[in-house]
């Protein structure tokens, strides 16, 4: 059985995180294991910091990235993606409860993003003038700064923010309009790895068809969706 | 033991030491020393190595604080607080004023290496006495000329010979115009040749009638320069008197032995 090394960040609950026993867990870990089972691959999980996750894929330190990575044109220039395993999902702004922040016309604001994400690219491009974009190496660090009042707002994946806001509605609230960026989340792989891409795509198609993917989304995102079945 | 004769009678006592005791840890170095120096008097302290001569001299300007006893300068007692080995200087302002009345010349010169000779000499008058620079400079140059190193004013100490350095140190001490000059073996760090230059300067000061207390190991010099010689032994004044008495009509066996050894060194 062919061994596939899958990299994840482990700091992006509930997509991927390190559970109480110190092992990777979360939606992507369950899904990845399901893909491997379907495609008869043996899988090995590797924890890698987000900001070097693409370079290390290219350097050949693993074969697949499943780390809540959105499929974007820019990334497609360097790496390839499987078909998405999470439907296109809006990015959202959050702010500490009680603060009046209007993402539509920010000025002099401190906007937190995770470095190397689609939100970071979006913020650099559209929000940087007149505001400060602060880059963190994990999303959790950005959340810590927001909770500590060092940021006015954070722009991040809706699916990452939903559970957090749901868990502490008194502290954090969504503000402003959602932003549609990215084409859903997929598994990143090297461009010359057509074999693997084919296997992963085939497995994903099957898993989507038999409802496994939607089931996992429902399980990990507390029934909020979005689902492929709709 | 003899009693001190009233040398230069009529002159007032400038330095008075009363029952000075001093120990370092368990070692009692001074065991009750009293003497006085009158205006214009030159006193030599002699004694074998370790007998406490330097310690006694350093007690006069409180570089060492005595455990017991008092030091009076011009009739004014230096205020001390506490007792025994924890005794301390009580009044910082008083001691600074008194110290600037006592010019001290060290065995190892202790010139400030980072200042020129002129700066060394001008330092205390400017900084401690806060006198005007122009006046001090004129006086400092005069003083350097007097000790014979006027041409070295702008040199740094490291560029001078030992004898020149010691003469600079003397000029430095003189420039605060002290009531008393204290010398601690001013020539023992020097070669015999350089020694001569320094001794000449000290002789000059003695002849001028300056009050001086000096620790020396040169008996010939002590004899020729001093009015009064004090022999320290094991923390006590074993014998004292005029040079004629001390060197000519030695009483104590210890002193005889010491003088004998000194003449053979």
């Amino acid at each position: 059985q062919e061994t596939v090394r899958i990299a994840t960040e482990g700091a992006y609950a509930p997509w991927n995180f390190l559970n109480d026993s110190g092992a990777p867990a979360g939606f992507e870990i369950d899904l990845g294991n399901a893909i491997c089972e379907k495609a008869s691959l043996s899988c090995e999980w590797i924890i890698n910091d987000w900001d070097s996750i693409i370079p290390n894929l290219l350097a050949g330190n693993y074969d697949l990235i499943m780390a809540g990575m959105s499929i974007t044109d820019e990334r497609l220039e360097t790496i390839d993606f499987s078909q998405n395993y999470f439907p296109p999902d809006p990015s959202k702004f959050v702010a500490p409860a009680g603060d009046t922040v209007d993402p539509a016309n920010l000025s002099g604001a401190r906007i937190g993003v995770q470095g190397g994400t689609i939100q970071a690219a979006y913020a650099e491009e559209n929000l940087a003038s007149g505001n400060t974009v602060v880059t963190f190496s994990t999303a959790d660090q950005a959340m810590a700064d927001l909770m500590a009042g060092n940021l006015d707002t954070i722009l991040a994946d809706g699916a990452y923010l939903e559970p957090v806001v749901a868990a502490s509605p008194d502290a954090i609230v969504f503000v402003g309009e959602d932003v549609m960026i990215g084409n859903g989340v997929g598994a990143g792989l090297r461009k010359d790895d057509a074999d693997l891409k084919a296997k992963v795509d085939e497995a994903l198609t099957a898993l989507k068809a038999d409802g496994t993917v939607d089931k996992l989304i429902a399980q990990w995102f507390e029934g909020r969706g979005p689902y492929f079945a709709e | 033991m003899q009693h001190a004769e009233p040398a230069k009678a009529g002159a007032s006592p400038v330095v008075v030491l009363r029952e000075i005791h001093k120990s370092f840890g368990a070692l009692e170095v001074l065991k009750g020393i009293s003497f006085e120096a009158r205006e214009g008097q030159v006193i030599s302290l002699i004694g074998s190595s370790g007998s406490g001569k330097s310690t006694l001299l350093r007690c006069i300007n409180m570089l060492e604080v005595p455990d017991q006893g008092d030091v009076l300068i011009d009739g004014e007692a230096i205020a001390l607080s506490g007792s025994g080995q924890t005794r301390r200087i009580a009044d910082e302002n008083q001691i600074r004023r008194i110290r600037s009345e006592l010019g001290m010349v060290f065995q190892s010169f202790n010139l400030w290496a980072h200042m020129t000779i002129l700066e060394n000499v001008m330092e205390a008058p400017l900084v401690v006495q806060r006198r005007a620079r122009s006046e001090v400079e004129a006086e400092a140059r005069a003083m350097l000329d007097k000790v014979g190193i006027g041409s070295k004013a702008d040199a740094y100490p490291a560029q001078l010979s030992g004898g020149q350095q010691q003469r600079a140190a003397i000029a430095r001490a003189l420039c605060v115009n002290p009531r008393v000059m204290l010398f601690d073996e001013p020539t023992s760090a020097l070669d015999p040749e350089l020694e001569v230059e320094v001794l000449r300067v000290i002789k000059l000061l003695a002849d001028e009638g300056r009050t001086m207390i000096l620790v020396t190991h040169d008996m010939d010099f002590a004899r020729s320069v001093s009015d009064h010689v004090i022999f320290l032994h094991q923390g006590h004044i074993e014998e004292q008197g005029t040079p004629a008495q001390v060197f000519g009509a030695t009483q104590s066996a210890r002193l005889k032995q010491f003088l004998n050894a000194a003449s053979h060194a």
Partner: protein, 270 residues
């Protein structure tokens, strides 16, 4: 009260914390391995500097000045990457055909077959070598000085008894060198200990990475205990850990010094 204690005990012994505790092994391994290699490189560097052969002397000089002229972090990152690429390049010259190279889309390696997979073990080894190289440059200076501090008479006596150059070096020169080198080497060791905090930069899940992950705020009960940002507490633990290690090292070096100094240091006779 008891519930509290029980709760904290179980929290601090959950698998995530146990993994954190276990990751101290990486730090300790890197320090020990790095330290040993630093001595090896230090000896090599010092020998090069002492060499009669000019190019060796130049290499020794170049090694110790360049490595010390740039930040240790820079070298620490550069060396493993450069070494990996070096190996891959070497492999590539053997295995890659022009077609394979043409088929390669990523900028590196030249072809996929030449790829060398680096896991934690490999990175840890490379990190240790990297530490050894950086601090070996410091150690080489220390050792160079120490070798020159050994009294010439000691070496002459050895030569007079017919020892070969190698025997003189190993049986007398280097044996006695330690006493003079130890204070400096102790310094270098303290630097190595502190540099082990950089392991996470080489994708090693070390104590620093775990402190960050454990301390990061958590909002989701499904992930584990919900808590605020606790990172500074975890870093405080590391802060204290390093101070403790420094303290222990100092004590250890004092003991070693007493042993190594037997006969050479007069204080050691007491």
């Amino acid at each position: 009260m008891f519930d509290d204690i029980a709760f904290w005990v179980s929290y601090l012994t959950n698998g995530k914390h146990l993994t954190w505790y276990a990751s101290f092994q990486f730090t300790i391994f890197a320090a020990l391995m790095g330290g040993a290699l630093a001595v090896v490189f230090g000896l090599a560097g010092a020998t090069a500097k002492n060499s009669r052969f000019l190019p060796f002397r130049m290499i020794g000089w170049f090694y110790s000045s360049i490595v010390r002229g740039v930040p240790d972090v820079l070298f620490f990152l550069f060396f493993p990457l450069a070494f990996e690429q070096g190996v891959e390049w070497l492999v590539a010259t053997q295995v890659c055909s022009p077609e394979m190279i043409a088929a390669q889309t990523a900028p590196w390696p030249p072809c996929r077959e030449a790829n060398w997979f680096l896991g934690t073990t490999e990175y840890l080894l490379l990190a240790s070598v990297s530490l050894g190289l950086v601090y070996g440059a410091f150690a080489s200076n220390v050792i160079h000085g120490a070798l020159r501090s050994v009294p010439a008479g000691q070496l002459e006596a050895a030569r007079a008894f017919g020892m070969s150059a190698r025997q003189v070096l190993w049986r007398v020169h280097i044996r006695q060198m330690w006493v003079y080198a130890l204070p400096g080497l102790s310094n270098v060791w303290m630097l190595i200990i502190k540099a082990t905090s950089l392991l996470s930069l080489l994708q090693i899940a070390d104590i620093v990475l775990w402190a960050d992950r454990l301390g990061a705020p958590n909002f989701l009960p499904s992930v584990g205990l919900v808590h605020d940002d606790w990172r500074w507490r975890y870093y405080l633990v590391l802060f204290v850990f390093y101070i403790l290690v420094t303290w222990l090292s100092e004590r250890a070096f004092e003991a070693i010094m007493r042993r190594a100094g037997r006969g050479i240091l007069s204080e050691a006779q007491a």
